[in-house]
């Protein structure tokens, strides 16, 4: 049993949880994730570890309520507990040193990017961070990201906050302005990571992306998370989750991730019928 120690809304649909998981807190590194099962009848889902506090024995998870499992989780509070949390899983992020890097986060992907950006900062890098979201209320961790970046740029698809446009527009502007990036770390929705990889490929900049494949065990036992990288089959949970963005077959993964779309909608519909699901108030 893994108790929730604290809970804080970051946006109307995104929540930060601190969970008691002492073994994991001790071992986790930037880029690791956990597999979580919320209730006995629940499914196993991967969530990135945003932070860890070995003293307190806790890890931080940032969750966007998108379907039944995440809505259920976000409806839980201090005193409740998750039935299963296992990790830290996946390979830690390869952190470059003393270089110029771009950290690009899309939507809740920013939560995954945050520990990586901090680690990059600790390794003497100059960091240009770009955060994008559909609209203002989906921008998260603005102050945290700003604290570990040299420059911070924000974009929204609808122009409701800062620059109207996509993260790739901002990235192109920086490249046009002759910023010479040694590496790019991009985490967000698959189409965004694909678009970023296309831009950086043109410039030959090493690009790390983190793949959110559908997972069951998270330990290399089922192969459900398989992705094609450079034409060979990899298991995202043990070979990744980060891969060279120039070698990933994004289109294939986008299609694979739709495999259970109808089941997910059905679960969500049933959940929403019996539970009132409210967007939460956020004091920014």
């Amino acid at each position: 049993m893994f108790p929730i120690l604290s809970k804080e809304p970051l946006s109307p649909t995104i929540t930060r949880f601190v969970i008691y998981a002492p073994y994991i807190a001790k071992k986790r590194q930037a880029g690791n994730f956990v597999i979580v099962r919320v209730i006995e009848t629940g499914e196993r889902i991967p969530l990135t570890i945003a932070e860890g506090d070995p003293e307190e024995g806790s890890i931080t998870l940032i969750v966007q309520a998108v379907g039944k499992t995440t809505k259920l989780l976000c409806s839980m509070g201090v005193g409740d507990h998750l039935v299963d949390v296992v990790g830290p899983l996946g390979n830690p992020t390869e952190i470059v040193r003393d270089s110029v890097v771009a950290c690009i986060g899309g939507g809740v992907g920013t939560a995954e990017l945050y520990p990586i950006t901090r680690a990059l900062r600790e390794h003497g890098n100059k960091i240009y961070t770009i955060i994008g979201a559909r609209s203002r209320d989906l921008i998260i961790l603005e102050s945290e990201m700003s604290a570990c970046s040299d420059y911070l740029f924000l974009t929204t698809d609808d122009g409701s906050y800062k620059r109207k446009g996509l993260v790739t527009h901002q990235l192109k502007d920086l490249l046009d302005a002759q910023v010479e990036f040694d590496a790019v770390y991009a985490i967000g929705p698959l189409p965004m990571m694909k678009a970023v990889s296309q831009v950086t490929q043109h410039y030959g900049i090493k690009t790390y992306v983190s793949l959110n494949a559908v997972m069951v065990d998270g330990t290399g036992m089922c192969g459900g998370c398989r992705v094609s990288v450079n034409g060979t089959m990899k298991f995202a949970c043990v070979d990744g989750p980060e891969f060279d963005g120039h070698k990933v077959d994004f289109d294939e993964l986008i299609k694979r991730n739709r495999t259970y779309g109808d089941f997910e909608r059905e679960s969500d519909r049933r959940y929403c019928e019996t539970h009132t699901w409210e967007r939460q108030e956020v004091v920014k």
Binding site: Y23, I24, K27, R37, T41, G42, E43, R44, K68, T69, V83, D84, V85, V86, G87, P88, L89, V216, D217, T219, G220, M221, C222, G223, G224, R226, V227, S228, M233, V238, D249, E252, K255, R256, R258, T259, Y260, F263, E264, E266, S267, R270
Partner: protein, 493 residues
């Protein structure tokens, strides 16, 4: 000759082998209830009279864990069913499981003297009968632990190898902790073998019996990630470690189309159903997608379980595609037989070459090739060879690959000094000792895919070796073991 058995040997040979009572195929192919109800008391007693009580009981030699079969059958003749199960448990702590899943036809029953001319004594079914009798009547008693011994042992993996090693060491009085990566105990018994062959309540009960020996079980703990083996020896204070992490990483054939939606490894398919209870969606949240037509590739127990599960999940056509003939199938004969009864269509001497997909990357069919048996290969088995221009397409929406598994490399890659074999297995000597002092291994991890009972045998052997290691604190390891080569040999995939 025994006074217990009223029949003369010649009469015993005339008694027909007693069959289990089974759920009719037409009903069971729509449910997950157990296929076989086993022998009832009357049939079990008749079956027991068939035993010739050989002076030299070869059946015991045929049993990988050396159960004293003659004695337990004699106990059945005396109606002492609890005595019978106790006798079994001296050698095998999980009789209700082995009675159900062991390939007896290749082991004890293969060498049974009666079996030379007549059907062998149904040893497996008798084992199951007494174990079930004990369970149904709540007659289990925890074995007494005579002495407490110094020594803390970590068991990694809760499959049959780990559970057996834990039970044996706990009985010797050691302090045992099992670490399991998943949220539930049992390994393949939990996530692989379906409910209709091994009801979960039996597994839960056997697990409780292991806990009753004082064994602690920590789930959600991936050794190598949550803590490493070296940390176990260091800050955790363990004196010995047994690795029983199985062979859980699925192989794929490497044919085009495997990334499509609708293609599963048998492991994923069975895990979704057995561990996550996807067959109860939406009561349980994990989904599974089974087309009207399903093809399962392979000929082992895993393939058989997957195809019969697909049938139960509503597949109208469930094909089993295997590149050799039925004779070569590694699955238990009983499972092959049950699959046939349930209407599984066998496409033998057939090899898949390509999975066909639509524009959205959904499976729409599978292209196969017919095979014929060619020259014998190194193993002496005739090698299947493709017949030119014999390709054909079967229309299916789901493809499940059960083409073998390899050990999961997480521990091997985080434990320096472990000698690793060609196929990613951990190399051990006959006493299950690895190339590192204090680390023992067994089951599918050291064998590649094998069987429950061989995993248990390894677990037992490792327990004796660990006992010896802790008693003497000296293994003569380097001199003894020819395996000990480079202590920093790393996993090579």
């Amino acid at each position: 000759m025994s006074l217990l058995n009223p029949l003369k040997p010649s009469e015993r040979m005339k008694v027909p082998r007693q069959e289990s009572i089974e759920q009719p195929a037409s009903e069971r192919k729509e449910n997950f209830l157990e296929v076989s109800f086993g022998l009832n008391e009357e049939r079990a007693r008749v079956e027991a009279t068939r035993c010739l009580e050989c002076k030299n009981p070869v059946c015991t030699e045929g049993c990988p864990v050396g159960i004293d079969i003659r004695s337990f059958i004699q106990a059945i003749l005396q109606k002492d069913y609890v005595g019978a199960v106790k006798k079994i448990r001296e050698a095998n702590y999980l009789p209700a499981i082995c009675g159900r899943v062991c390939p007896q036809e290749e082991q004890c029953e293969a060498v049974c003297t009666l079996g030379k001319k007549n059907p062998a004594v149904a040893i497996g079914k008798l084992e199951r009968f007494v174990a079930d009798y004990e369970m149904e009547n709540g007659l289990f008693t925890v074995p007494e632990i005579a002495v407490r011994r110094e020594g803390k042992i970590a068991i990694v993996g809760s499959g049959p190898a780990g559970l057996t090693c834990a039970a044996e060491l706990a009985k010797l009085g050691y302090n045992i902790t099992i670490f399991e990566a998943l949220h539930a105990v049992g390994g393949v018994l939990r996530y692989g073998i379906p409910e209709f062959r091994l009801p979960r309540k039996i597994l839960d009960l056997e697990t409780e019996r292991i806990k009753a020996l004082g064994v602690e079980i920590i789930t959600n703990f991936v050794v190598g990630r949550t803590a490493t083996i070296d940390e176990f020896f260091g800050e955790w204070g363990f004196n010995a470690v047994f690795l029983g992490t199985g062979a859980g990483t699925p192989h794929f054939m490497g044919i085009p189309g495997e990334s499509a939606s609708g293609v599963y490894s048998a492991n994923e398919f069975l895990t979704r159903v057995n561990l996550m209870k996807a067959y109860k969606f939406p009561e349980y949240d994990t989904p599974i997608r089974v087309g009207k037509r399903v093809a399962v590739i392979g000929g082992g127990n895993t393939a058989m379980d997957a195809v019969r599960t697909a049938k139960r999940l509503g597949a109208e056509k469930a094909y089993l595609v295997y590149r050799r003939s039925k004779k070569e199938m590694p699955a238990r004969v009983e499972e092959i037989h049950h699959a046939e009864q349930e209407g599984i269509e066998f496409l033998l001497m057939t090899n898949p070459v390509r999975i066909l997909t639509d524009a959205n990357n959904w499976v729409v069919g599978m292209e196969c090739q017919r095979m014929e048996l060619g020259e014998p290969d190194d193993s002496g088995r005739r090698r299947p060879m493709p017949i030119p221009d014999s390709n054909f397409v079967i229309n299916v929406e789901t493809v499940i690959e059960a083409v073998g598994q390899a050990p999961n490399p997480i521990i091997q890659s985080t434990t320096p000094g472990l000698n690793i074999g060609k196929k990613g297995t951990v190399v051990t000597d006959d006493a299950q000792r690895t190339s590192r002092e204090g680390i023992f291994a067994g089951g599918d991890l050291s064998r590649g895919g094998a069987t429950v009972i061989l995993a248990m045998r390894d677990g037992k052997r490792a327990a004796s070796a660990i006992h010896e290691f802790l008693s003497t604190k000296r293994t003569n390891h380097e001199e003894d073991s020819p395996l000990y080569t480079n202590p920093y040999c790393q996993y090579i995939s």
